[in-house]
Symmetry: none
Subunit: 208 residues, 4 copies
Amino acid sequence: MQSRATTPRTGRPRSAAADAAILQATRAALVELGWSKLTLGDVATRAGVAKTTLYRRWAGKNELVVDAVAVLFDELELPDRGSLAADIEGVVLQFAALLNRPETATALMAVVAESTRDEPLRERIRTSIVDRQKRLVVEGRARATARGELPPESDPEVAARTADLIFDVVAGAVVHRTLVSAEPADEEWVRAFTQVLLLGLTGTPPTP
Amino acid sequence: MQSRATTPRTGRPRSAAADAAILQATRAALVELGWSKLTLGDVATRAGVAKTTLYRRWAGKNELVVDAVAVLFDELELPDRGSLAADIEGVVLQFAALLNRPETATALMAVVAESTRDEPLRERIRTSIVDRQKRLVVEGRARATARGELPPESDPEVAARTADLIFDVVAGAVVHRTLVSAEPADEEWVRAFTQVLLLGLTGTPPTP
Amino acid sequence: MQSRATTPRTGRPRSAAADAAILQATRAALVELGWSKLTLGDVATRAGVAKTTLYRRWAGKNELVVDAVAVLFDELELPDRGSLAADIEGVVLQFAALLNRPETATALMAVVAESTRDEPLRERIRTSIVDRQKRLVVEGRARATARGELPPESDPEVAARTADLIFDVVAGAVVHRTLVSAEPADEEWVRAFTQVLLLGLTGTPPTP
Amino acid sequence: MQSRATTPRTGRPRSAAADAAILQATRAALVELGWSKLTLGDVATRAGVAKTTLYRRWAGKNELVVDAVAVLFDELELPDRGSLAADIEGVVLQFAALLNRPETATALMAVVAESTRDEPLRERIRTSIVDRQKRLVVEGRARATARGELPPESDPEVAARTADLIFDVVAGAVVHRTLVSAEPADEEWVRAFTQVLLLGLTGTPPTP
DNA sequence: TGTTAACCGAGACGGTACGTCCAGTCTTTCT
DNA sequence: AGAAAGACTGGACGTACCGTCTCGGTTAACA
């Protein structure tokens, strides 16, 4: 979040409680107001903190919101449901549920929009949110390989490229369905999507 | 754009040139400044128009930008390239090129973000942009059916659902690749993506 | 106050009522809070006016206060009391009373302090306040000359220099007595001061 | 660093050098920035001292500036120039020169302005600056009496009142001339002023 | 062919939020 | 216990836009 390299040894240390309170207040404000009506002054007030304290730690609204929202994405898990199809369905449903929370979808899209003009912000999004979730793809793939559902991939570069592709397809489809088409990513849709995806990856339809 | 039902029978009619100038100026401002730094006062100045004139025609920044950007999406075409795989690759590349234009990506994401809190805006996006592009899916499907690449679908509801799914997968994947992963949707990626998609839809890999 | 030369012919004209309300509110705030605790935001609120309106008309606190206070100095008069001594005593007492009003003394000194670093402000003070009051000296002198109490002065430059000197002595003494020495400029003090001044100017003590 | 022999047995003693450095830095900042742009943080930095140290010794900006400026006024002297007129001219010129120094005029006026709302500050100004300079009047008067230029005054209360009046007239006139009228108190003006003052006090014009 | 109503430009209006700066206090470590 | 460093709360600053509201001045359809 902040640089740990520069170790200021003197002076009053920054309040760790303030950080937590600010991120908490940011999420609360996102829920109530949405991205565009969220103001840093209001966040500061909610957190019981002066505006300057907030600006000392984050460069602006975008950076703050990325940090506030990032932690929510770490909740995603990949419980072993016995088959690749079931695993995919499970994680996609979790992801859809996450995007339906009022603080995530609007914030994520807005920040992504800003990031098209702001390279450091894009980098922050990538490291704080995106790359962290690729673990789900890698893990699911490993599990399916162990089960014999997928052939092992020896070339690591091909494996990485495939993982990226899967990630973009899965995350993109869910986001688009939820936000742009504005239709629910419910169980029925998830099942249909999983079937297409699995068939596309393995050439064989999932066995129910 | 505006209601034509109420027919003002007297008085000076609105300048048609102003509309075009404003939309043009909006796109120019988007290119230069991006969504978040675009101001309506600036757009008005660029268009050589009073702010009042602008507000008389659009409710706000979001609505204006949707209209300004919508027309760009109508440029997408589906030239007959002889096979379903080639058709898909062609349109996906067009879409990727469109998202790489500086005025589209940032504007689209920002407006989508706003729309999560603004039902009329969501509706406007859907009618002005999203639904208009589903024609590409429907047309491509019909062409592939005629070629015998896809079996005919008798149930119109199933057809619609499948079209929606394809649309979300295609559009979502390209958007996510371009904006979130921030990697180019180049020919190599498009070929890999098309292969997965086609296999997922037909159970058979595309024949080169 | 503002330039009358540039006559903007288009656009909504500035509200004349706003000007009056702002100056009125400024004086009220000076009475309650004094110079240093007066804030432009508070003045705007009191005047029922937006902060921007205030900044559109005045460059800052200093300029506003000069304008707000200047009008008070125009209340000074020189009633004919029959003799030069009585006239001087009368106007000095008025001046002392004016400086005892809570909105004047603190504001005037603060603005003068600022003006030592701000030439345009100094000019504004001079034209809005100082020079306007020299009329009292000139008028009193003319009246005394007509009465035969003072010899006529033919050289206008000498007359001007003498008027300036008298003005500095009178205004300076009263201000210093009131603000720096912080003693009241009461009738007794004024009488003693007038006696010294008159003797200094004419060589003859005032006749009671 | 070694403690000196006189070091108290407990606690670190206050640095005497810090006091001098702070006052020095205050004067330097006044010269560069003027009263209104002088900040205590900046003074502390210039003095190589922590803000805490500064606040431990002075209550605020006003008190600090009074102390920083007071010492300059002690430079005023009353060298014996042989006649009352010459003595007055000498001290008035000194005073005018002092007020022309950039750190004095602005600071003095600002502090006086504040003092109209701050009784302790007024008291501090009086004891630190004003009353200390009345010695000049008293001394000059005694010298003139010894020379026979002024009659001896037996009643001490009358003497005090007269001294106060002279002080207000002299200081006030010079200050007003310099700061408000913003004209130089040069030799010509001082001579004219002295002539009026002396005639006012003695009934006889000064003998050149 | 003149009315006339809706349009147009310009720009001031009341607001809201911004991001910065400074005052004055507090907390930490070092001397 | 005092000092340096620097984070803290709180509040005003002056700016930028927002979306609305007068103004004076067109302009095209109707009478």
